[in-house]
Symmetry: C2
DNA sequence: TAGAGCCTGGACAACGTTGTCAGATGCGGG
DNA sequence: CCCGCATCTGACAACGTTGTCCAGGCTCTA
């Protein structure tokens, strides 16, 4: 009776422990441990008795205690910007698949593009002693991670490089992709080309802007300030930026959109105006092929990005990797119509 | 020297513990614990000394040990079908936000619509002693969860009810939504209406089929077998099903698509054929408004679904909830053109 | 100035598991 | 018949933290 009372006061409801199983099976604690972990050295008869006790009590090993003893948690953390963004779904899923293949679980969190929140999340994950971290950084100073990395937390950055520290990073060729996309517009006769992108403090945004400038320079086209809109991200402001660009004193005849969200809004704005405007977007978007005209994009492969990063993470954990590396994945120009429209001058 | 060697052999690299901090600060172990947890009863001077030692050593509390002692992990598990599906991104994000507001982290895993994998995942999460579980079930027998729930793991099912056990569930009104969507087509003059949906063993699929049948029956329209395609999910087979329906001996003039993936494929098929076909889809899809015609959908709010479930989970954890409940969220018909097309007879 | 009461700090056990090591048992061979 | 060896089993410490409890020093009052 007293025993029952004690048990029901347990913090885990009243979960049986190995000790309980051992008592019921009439064996020692360690024997239960051996059965649970499939270790050798237990007679079939003993094993059966233990197994029966386990089933009867509904015992489930407490991995928290196990972690404390073994030091590895078999879990990795993924910090990204926003799980609701269609770009991160496939990436996250790819990381999860790799983790699963290595018997690890995935803890993930969204930074909401806030450096403080990123740090808070990362440190919370470190306190949980995740074995490794895949980070899509929001901030640009990751020195706070140095003690963690030194302590053995495997770390891979994705989509954007780490700031102020030397770490593995897997990213898309934003510069090359943007340059090719803009060059594609130039090849179709455009000279007045607009660029709408995110804040240049975000690495990918800066690289894509650089790609835009490079393509323009290669073609000997001087870029006018009105053609560029940087740091706008919410639909309303993107909309305004696009409208301004398309109706200013020297309106652009084509737009290069710096990411999927911008692309969607620009498509809307163009659709509302009668005149066709050429458009190339960075990142593929669903149903892009069904619009009229189809949306030409510079596609990056989110799943491959995630998979590559996760695989590298586990190679770090195996200890086969020493020096941080920068892996750049190529982008792919998918022509669907909007990028091949001639200037509507 | 020997000390250094011992430390560097630690499983966590060589992470300092509270003991190390205490030694360095020249105080007792418990005092460090007090400082780390902001507990009262430490003089400012002592606190400063401890804080310095913490910073100098780069100490970070080991939450695994903390969990073992306290019994609560401050983490919840989310098991869904596929994180890469655009429907689950916002749902997952919403759950994460609620978790964050309660100071908890989110571990999530994809079942890939495989009941065994779902169970494996759920039990792995239970072994980690997550405080609660949000589950989008793949299987239809969840008796394996009974001991866990009894042991105090809060559990909420989302999108589909639990099988064989009585548990909280938050879902969209699939039946009503589908019925309204089909009635909408009927109101626009259609009588030969096709239905393409997932396997009826999936609760939502069955409910939507039931809604379809109800609307047809309400209108006194007998349903022909050729008009229904059940259990197809991959694009190729959906495509074939749609084509058959549209070109059989008694071709349908309108299609009701049972979920977002089906809708996308059907939109493609319709776009490829010259003749317009009316379409209403379950689940909203991005850019649906920009297609020609816009795609009329029965929208459900994934974020609200996730938020509601997570809030209920935490109320369970607070102990204010006793009886499992079924919460049904309304759907919303969004007319954009495709559902208002007249029959093309 | 002694005693009561408060505040700070530390020793110790406990959480549930695994690694180490030694004891018990059984079996075969000398 | 006993010894040695192999096999199976269990006692115990340790992982890093937190809760309990007590000691010592201080202040305040009578």
């Amino acid at each position: 009776m007293a025993e029952t009372a004690r048990r029901s006061e347990n913090r885990y409801g009243n979960r049986p422990t190995m000790k309980d199983v051992a008592a019921r099976a009439g064996v020692g604690l360690k024997t239960v441990s051996r059965v649970v972990n499939g270790e050798p050295g237990v007679t079939p008869d003993t094993e059966r008795r233990v197994q029966e006790a386990i089933d009867a009590l509904g015992f489930r090993r407490n991995d928290s205690a196990r972690v404390l003893r073994k030091g590895r948690t078999a879990s990795i953390g993924l910090v990204l910007e926003d799980l609701a963004d269609p770009f991160y779904g496939p990436l996250s899923r790819a990381v999860e698949e790799v983790a699963r293949a290595h018997g690890a679980l995935l803890i993930n969190g969204s930074s909401a593009e806030d450096p403080d929140r990123e740090q808070e999340l990362v440190l919370a994950l470190c306190a949980r002693r995740v074995d490794g971290l895949v980070i899509i950084p929001a901030g640009d100073d990751h020195r706070y991670l140095e003690p963690e990395i030194k302590a053995g937390v495997a770390t891979v950055f994705v989509d954007r490089p780490a700031g102020q520290i030397d770490a593995d990073v897997v990213l898309s060729d934003s510069f090359g992709g943007a340059r090719d996309g803009v060059a594609h517009l130039i090849a179709h006769g455009h000279r007045r080309i607009g660029f709408i992108g995110d804040m240049p403090r975000i690495h990918t945004a800066a690289e894509r802007l650089r790609g835009y400038r490079a393509a323009m320079e290669d073609a000997g086209i001087p870029v006018e300030d009105d053609w560029m809109s940087l740091g706008v991200t919410d639909p309303q402001r993107v909309r305004k930026a696009a409208e301004d660009m398309l109706s200013g004193p020297s309106p652009v005849t084509a737009v290069f959109a710096g990411n999927n969200r911008v692309t969607v809004t620009v498509v809307r704005v163009i659709a509302e105006r009668g005149r066709p405007v050429a458009l190339v977007g960075f990142d593929d978007i669903e149903l892009a092929d069904l619009l009229e005209p189809g949306v030409t994009v510079v596609a990056q492969d989110a799943a491959t990005l995630g998979r590559t990063a996760a695989e590298r993470l586990f190679r770090q954990l195996e200890g086969t990797l020493i020096t941080p590396e920068r892996i750049e994945l190529p982008t792919r120009l998918i022509t669907r119509g909007s990028g091949e429209l001639p200037p509507a001058d």
